[in-house]
Amino acid sequence: MIPSLLGISPAHWAALLAGLKWTVFLSAVGFLAGGLVGFAVALSRISDSLIIRGLAAVYVNLIQGTPLLVLMFVLYFGLPVFGFDMPPLAAACIAMTLFSAAYLGEIWRGCLQSVPRTQWEAADCLALARWERMLLVILPQALRIAVPPTVGFMVQIVKNTSVASVIGMAEMTYIGKLINNATFQPFRIYLIIAGLYFLLCYPLSWLSRRLERKLNVAHR
């Protein structure tokens, strides 16, 4: 017989850790897929074409101006009326992707634009093609600036996956609610959940701060 830890039975711990796994999964999807779309958003935001710039700006403003919770509701309850089959997992993944893409896109646009204008001009003077200029000159420099805020935003992604619990995605907060329904120890269970999120997020926060100090050589 395994003794209960922190007043939570082993079976409930197993469920919580399964939930933790889904939280990590959803965060990873949000970051990877969101990063991919977000990179396209960042490039679109500094595009020469007014239409592409405008569309990207509209997208970013739409996502940053509405709550993630409402986005999840629209996808989960809203899209099935058009005949899309939308399980909670799919709705949560799409919502996290759209959400992260808008914020990461804005962060990265800022990083791209903070590469000094002269670097873009120098690349043009060397007759580099647009993609060469971006890939060989701008991106390597922007990357240094982008890493700390990107790691910092990963904390936001992990925390915001908790919102997926409201559409019934069985991540950590959702499992916590279920366990609370069974044991009626909300203070204990939600503090433990908070502690688990803290264990996920704090190393990222710490890393972000450390990287900021380490990579911020140019501005020192």
Partner: protein
């Protein structure tokens, strides 16, 4: 795609939506004001000479910034109630949101304080101002002016975050929308409507913060820059 949009529910349900919108505005306003004051207090405390005070503020800020708002609200509403501290859903939402935004405000304002040139504070000392006079008359106004845009966007994020209070049954706009959609079975339309309302609110807030900034920071307006 033979779906026909039907927004006629608005005719019957707009008072409910309006009540929700009003509570969303109230929650945002209360948490913004209280969180701003809490943030100032914590930011000043985090620059204090006392290690214990600095440590406590650091702990508070890190704990709040590394856990989800949803879980924080659950702890305040369900958790504290189980310990005998019962608050209504709305009160819990205000408490939870304030504690949450206080930590973010503190971190932002602290960055502002740290960016202030030492000479400014020394100049204050030379004018025989007390420590508190230096903080109140020199450090804080300058620090807040510097980080004002960051604070403003954080408060817009807070307004969007009030939607999460629906999960502890505070009857704000998202909760109202959930109730309406379960009555009308028009989820897509209902959530589109409140998404549009949130969008208007966030544009409105940004405009408001801009206007307040123009009014409050004359130097920023005249020079087009901070200091």
């Amino acid at each position: 795609m033979d779906y026909s949009f039907d927004f006629s529910f608005l005719w019957d349900y707009w008072p409910m939506l309006a009540d929700g919108l009003w509570l969303t505005i109230q929650l945002s306003l209360m948490a913004t004001v209280a969180g701003f004051l809490l943030g100032i207090a914590c930011a000043v405390a985090s620059t204090s000479r006392s290690r214990i005070l600095r440590g406590l503020v650091g702990l508070y800020v890190e704990l709040i910034r590394n856990t989800p708002l949803l879980v924080q609200l659950f702890v305040v509403y369900f958790g504290l109630a189980s310990l005998g501290l019962k608050f209504s859903a709305t009160t819990s939402a205000v408490i939870g949101l304030t504690i949450n935004i206080g930590a973010y405000s503190s971190e932002i304002i602290r960055a502002g304080i740290e960016s202030i040139h030492k000479g400014q504070i020394e100049a204050g000392d030379c004018l025989a101002l007390s420590r508190w006079q230096v903080v109140a008359a020199i450090v804080l106004p300058t620090a807040i002016e510097k980080v004002y845009p960051a604070l403003a966007s954080q408060y817009v994020l807070l307004m969007l975050g009030t939607s999460i209070a629906s999960q502890i049954s505070a009857e704000e706009m998202t909760a109202a929308a959930s109730r309406i959609q379960s009555d009308t079975f028009r989820p897509f339309e209902v959530f589109l409507v409140i998404a549009a309302l949130y969008l208007l609110l966030s544009f409105g807030m940004r405009g408001l913060f801009w206007a307040v900034g123009q009014f409050a920071f004359v130097r920023r307006r005249k020079l087009g820059t901070t200091l």
